[in-house]
Symmetry: C2
Subunit: 454 residues, 2 copies
């Protein structure tokens, strides 16, 4: 009988997060103040984040210890299984060996709790009573609701109104874990009231929801804010994925030639890829790490590398990153977690330095790969994860054409239980591919007056 | 750090199913023909089931080998984890030790694939092209769709129309695995057309859906029928759960005093309990096995032991079982999998012989336990599973009152991702408890003209 799963014991949950900043040949440029456009230090983040997370945000220590209380919660679902995708390989008739790390076994159903748990923990340690955040389709909001509940912290989620109305299941999940979920824009905040005054029927947006969550945190000393991707500490927390996968690949007596992950803000990709990039840095290996993004939101493959805001309304510090411009409005694809105009600064610098690769895929191609996976390996992937699958299928087909066996590892970051409507639309022929014209990208970028990077 | 999870390797997936018929002191009485009411043999089942499953249905071999091809598919998710529920224990402030076996890690999200996979396999081996079945809320239908897809068999699911309309997610899941799902009653069958002629807007029922699925199988030699509970072979396939759990308890250096599972038709309960009952039979142990049923459908605690039909319309053989009468219409509780008037014959005989126990719980009590579990252990349980939880909470509280530590094991048979509306209703105070009066039960039983027992 074949060994499909490579498992680890709870004692093998990593004891440290890996901080790639320590190993990068070129460190990212500093963030700039949104008003003065001068470099800012960590103290600027103090109203929004607990001190320990701010320290992690700027730390250059290579290994950051994971507190026992966080590891203890991790063991509710970690270590996650690594699978050899024998059935997918057979269906593709490829000489490639395909492995996947399955993060959908977490209670929230994705990789997001890997950072939600330490964020809730450090807030609790510093006496924070309430954490606010924004959420679109609800993956991040449900992970934070889960984590806050375990540490006895109130969780207040501003959920984009159109998602709140159309995707009730994730809201119900957050309620089950005791979070308060509001359809944003609300009348609780100045930002929300301002929007509602302009348009009482506003469907909301991630930008508005961020503004509401940040305003609430900034105006109450017992309340902090949490973000589910982009920031350095968030990416670092996710490295438990790749560290486990590395150990599991070693157990399987194998090592990936190619590592693939979906790309939204970068935490999913960083989680699985950074521990393998470490081997490239330390041992001169040449493991290719590929970020798979939607062709409807192609910041890595067609954006520019310059300073831009992290949010739509321009409240955050300016960050040096690949961006389509903070006014870019991505098409309404089902992979809601990938509809973000920018990219985390670490991942952007790595791409700039050609230490990682990026590839874009059409929505229809992604769902085709997703259905193939569901019908071979059994697990129905989240729409975000199907982007990684599309890259995997391409690489496996290339192996077949070239008659070469390569080992491919990808991050199956979550299940699609709350995204089945997307599959239904696919089967009914209602899904479309969203092509972005060069003109649209240029028009969005032309609106930027943010600093260029030399 | 505490050890929450006890894991097994793929090599430890059981190699045999355990057939409790071999060990029962009193064997069940034979099924009777629905017309002649004379005992029938296995050949009567030949139009509906492949020969190998019919052999298993009547086998008294203690151990039945699991084919390699089935074990290979099992490894997609098996062995499933056994958890020590430290957080729940702490919340209950109980000296009891609580363990749970988590079957929600299967692709379909419940224990149902444990029997769907071998059923699909044996059908494929005997050249069957298509399998029909009925489904209510969709747990069983999605498990069979998953299994048929893997073995290249067409799957045709008759889904009760009101569920088809109100619970679209499980239908979408079945479609993703390539099944054809019809809102029953349909115009494909005589049974369906007859119902539609009487009531073009019929909401359907499980009884009607069974009639349609059985009619389709009986009228086409390439088509067979599959059932997700009640029958002996179905219960036997589920014993992989308890066999793994036994090995895991031994690894944990512990042994349950009490084993608990939800009870619908019996496969969930049989799956975890029978391998522990084996120890009672073989070694004279006294492990208490408790079936937890809804108080709105209390066949084990308030029904009678007599011959009755397995379906509502009276097409199936008459089976010796605990029943509320085949015309009993259970209240519309959210635990759809437990809304069945009868019980499998093996479990009924064991209860009759006082070798197992049964307990009934109100819907509100169940959801209260389910929310406590979700907020401590993280996993949101299926409504069916909350019935076991209600028993567990009672037993843990009794331990506290008596100052005694007992070890309790229960079957967390599935997650509640597709049942979140039920939790929402609970939080909004819309859920009610459905009390069945003695008069209602007696009125249903008074309609029976089926043979009495003993």
């Amino acid at each position: 009988m074949k060994n499909r799963k490579i498992l680890l014991t709870e004692q093998e949950v990593p004891e440290f997060w890996y901080n790639i900043l320590a190993d990068m040949p070129n460190k990212p440029l500093p963030p700039l103040h949104p008003g003065t456009r001068e470099p800012i230090g960590p103290e600027a983040l103090a109203p929004l984040f607990p001190m320990e997370l701010i320290k992690q945000e700027v730390s250059t220590d290579k290994w950051v210890p994971i507190p026992d209380a966080v590891r203890d919660v991790y063991t509710l679902w970690r270590p996650t299984p690594l699978y050899r995708a024998y059935a997918l390989e057979k269906a593709l008739d490829t000489p490639a060996k395909i492995y996947y790390k399955y993060e959908g076994v977490s209670p929230a159903g994705s990789h997001k709790p890997n950072t939600a748990v330490p964020q809730a923990y450090y807030n609790q340690q510093e006496g924070v009573k309430r954490i606010t955040t924004e959420t679109g389709a609800g993956q991040w909001g449900s992970a934070l609701a889960f984590a806050c509940n375990l540490f006895g912290i109130e969780c207040e989620v501003y959920m984009v109104k159109i998602s709140y109305d159309h995707k009730p299941y994730r809201k119900m999940m957050m309620n089950t874990w005791g979070a308060k979920v509001y359809a944003s824009p609300t009348d609780h905040t100045q930002a929300g009231r301002m929007i509602l005054a302009q348009d009482p029927n506003s469907p909301g947006s991630l930008g508005i929801a961020i503004s509401e969550a940040v305003e609430r945190a900034a105006s109450d000393e017992n309340t902090k804010y949490a973000l589910g991707s982009v920031l350095n500490h968030v990416l670092m927390h996710q490295t438990v994925i790749g560290q486990e996968a590395l150990k599991q690949m070693e157990k399987a007596g194998d090592m990936p030639d190619i590592v693939v992950a979906p790309f939204g803000g970068g935490s999913n990709f960083a989680g699985i890829a950074f521990p393998f990039l470490r081997l490239n840095f330390e041992e001169g290996r040449n493991i290719r790490c590929i970020a798979a993004e939607p062709s409807s939101c192609p910041k890595l493959t067609r954006g520019v590398f310059r300073y831009d805001f992290g949010d739509t309304v321009g409240m955050t510090p300016l960050l040096p990153m690949y961006t389509l411009g903070h006014n870019f409005v991505p098409a309404p694809i089902h992979a809601g977690g990938l509809r973000y105009h920018g990219a985390g600064v670490i991942v952007s610098q790595l791409l700039k330095d050609r230490l990682i690769e990026a590839r874009a895929h059409e929505q229809l191609e992604c769902f085709e790969s997703g259905v193939l996976f569901a019908r071979t390996e059994g697990i129905i992937p989240a729409p975000e994860a199907t982007h990684a699958l599309a890259t995997v299928v391409q690489e496996a087909q290339r192996c077949k054409e070239e008659g070469v066996s390569r080992t491919i590892l990808f991050n199956l970051c979550g299940h699609g239980h709350f995204d089945l409507k997307a599959y239904e639309d696919y089967f009914e022929g209602k899904l479309v591919s969203h092509e972005v014209t060069q003109g649209e990208i240029e028009a969005s970028l032309a609106q930027l007056d943010t600093p260029l990077i030399g």
